[in-house]
């Protein structure tokens, strides 16, 4: 099985309008920036994007917003850290041009994990008794109030890898791993941008972080240069 695609454009060209697309990345770390840029060029509209956060150190997601490609974002950290600064996403939200579903970070990750593991829903103590419990079924287990949360399956998952082999086995690097394994498992079609591509057999099977069964397509990209900062660049 050879999962390597010749280009980013080829790897994402079947993404239709209205798709649900998941993006890995934790603030500046491990974002699939090349696939996201390609999606901005591709122009698919009415997208539901599933991504940890919006606008902070992630200009590529901002490009999708600027293009009007996003209908809804599902996230856990929608705004700038400061209560006084507004991101593009916040402006669009206030103008009623995008929607937002918010979950606690652990629930967000577990919704992805559950989707990949064939678990349609789960109970978690996180968020019980808070605003995010509104409209959710609550039940007490072992004396703890818990909320029913559902899995979050993705049509497409964008993953950034340090190394992949042609069979789709993947190795991540340091904290750039973050949501990658969860996004990859949750998606029907998982597309990996990899800084390095090697032949099958060149990755020690004991050291594979993501087995190839979860990976649909692999594309070679350059190692990006990332400015590690949470503040948006000055305009």
């Amino acid at each position: 099985m050879d999962k390597v695609f010749p280009s980013l454009e080829e790897a994402i060209k079947d993404i239709p309008d209205g798709a649900t697309v998941g993006f890995t990345g934790f603030f500046t770390c491990g974002n699939p920036i090349f696939l996201t840029r390609a999606l901005a060029k591709h122009g698919a509209k009415n997208l539901t994007i599933v991504v940890m956060q919006l606008g902070v150190g992630n200009e590529e997601i901002n490009d999708l917003l600027k293009n009007g490609q996003v209908k809804k974002a599902i996230c856990n950290y929608p705004f700038y850290r400061s209560f006084s600064r507004r991101s593009l996403f916040e402006e669009l939200l206030r103008a009623g041009k995008v929607e937002c579903d918010l979950y606690p970070m652990g629930t967000f990750a577990e919704k992805l994990r559950a989707a990949g593991a064939g678990i349609p829903a789960f109970y978690t103590p996180t968020g019980a008794g808070t605003l995010i419990a509104e409209g959710k079924e609550a039940r007490v287990f072992e004396g703890k109030e818990c909320l029913l949360e559902t899995a979050l399956p993705l049509d497409y998952g964008f993953v950034h890898a340090w190394k992949a082999d042609r069979a789709g086995n993947v190795v991540f690097r340091k904290t750039a791993r973050n949501y990658n394994p969860d996004v990859a498992r949750a998606a029907k079609i998982t597309i990996v941008e990899a800084e390095n591509i090697v032949e099958a057999g060149e990755i020690d099977p004991d050291l594979v972080h993501l087995p190839g069964v979860y990976v649909t397509r692999v594309v070679k990209v350059e190692r990006p240069t990332i400015n590690v900062t949470i503040e948006a660049p000055a305009k």
Binding site: C29, N76, Y103, P104, M105, G106, T124, R177
Partner: protein
């Protein structure tokens, strides 16, 4: 405007908290004053967890040490230590909700005498039911001991330690201790117990900028640094 007290510096609030966390603990530090706790535990046998998916997070990285693939949950470049490990976000929160964190130290906008606290949504920001929740709700329900580190009152002297939170809460009845520039307060079934006060302050001073009633510990001390 209410009377204000300066109390101790943010770095010293962090030191006081570091003294409270025993060797052999796993701990998670939130953004703000909690992050400063990491400056006081070098050489201690305390393993820090970062929500991004790392155990045994090392000191901040500078200059050539900076690796773009290695950050903490506050998006600061950090370093590895012997025994560090990396894992996926879902696993990071499995260990948090699963009770593996002995301590979580988080910031707050308000704390109430019933152990509720609020830290993710300021009504005046007018963001409705949305806000940056991040990992705070998971840490709150998962950690064995939840400590709050914050300034005791707002910049205009309004109390942040209240009978009940007026902002949307992060979690119900979870806070064990509050560490501020003015005091160390324990949350007990009987109410808030004032354990320690900043040098030069009296329990009455602390009460004057605290809405909730403080029970003064018979053994009241100066903040132990």
């Amino acid at each position: 405007m209410a009377k204000t007290f300066e109390g101790i510096a943010r770095e010293l609030i962090a030191l006081r908290i570091a003294n409270e966390i025993p060797d052999g603990s796993y701990a998670n530090l939130g953004i703000g004053i909690p992050t400063l706790v990491s400056n006081w535990i070098e050489g201690r046998d305390i393993v820090l967890e970062a929500e991004v998916g790392m155990l045994n997070t090392g000191p901040l990285a500078f200059d050539e040490q900076i690796d773009q693939d290695l950050i903490n949950a506050s998006c600061q470049p950090v370093t590895e230590l012997p025994g560090s490990s990396y894992f996926a976000s879902s696993e990071s929160f499995a260990m948090i909700r699963g009770g593996r964190m002995d301590y979580a130290v988080l910031g707050a906008l308000q704390v109430a005498e019933n152990g509720d606290y609020a830290g993710w949504n300021v009504p005046s920001a007018n963001r409705g039911k949305l806000g940056n929740i991040g990992g705070s709700m998971d840490l709150s329900v998962g950690a064995k001991h939840l400590f709050i580190a914050m300034e005791h009152a707002t910049t205009t002297g309004e109390p942040k330690i209240l009978k009940r939170c007026t902002y949307p809460i992060t979690a119900k009845g979870v806070v064990k201790k509050i560490f501020t520039n003015l005091a160390v307060i324990e949350i007990t079934p009987k109410g808030l117990v004032l354990k320690e006060v900043a040098p030069g302050l009296t329990s009455a001073d602390v009460q004057s900028v605290t809405e909730a009633k403080l029970i003064v510990d018979p053994d009241l001390k100066e903040i132990g640094l």
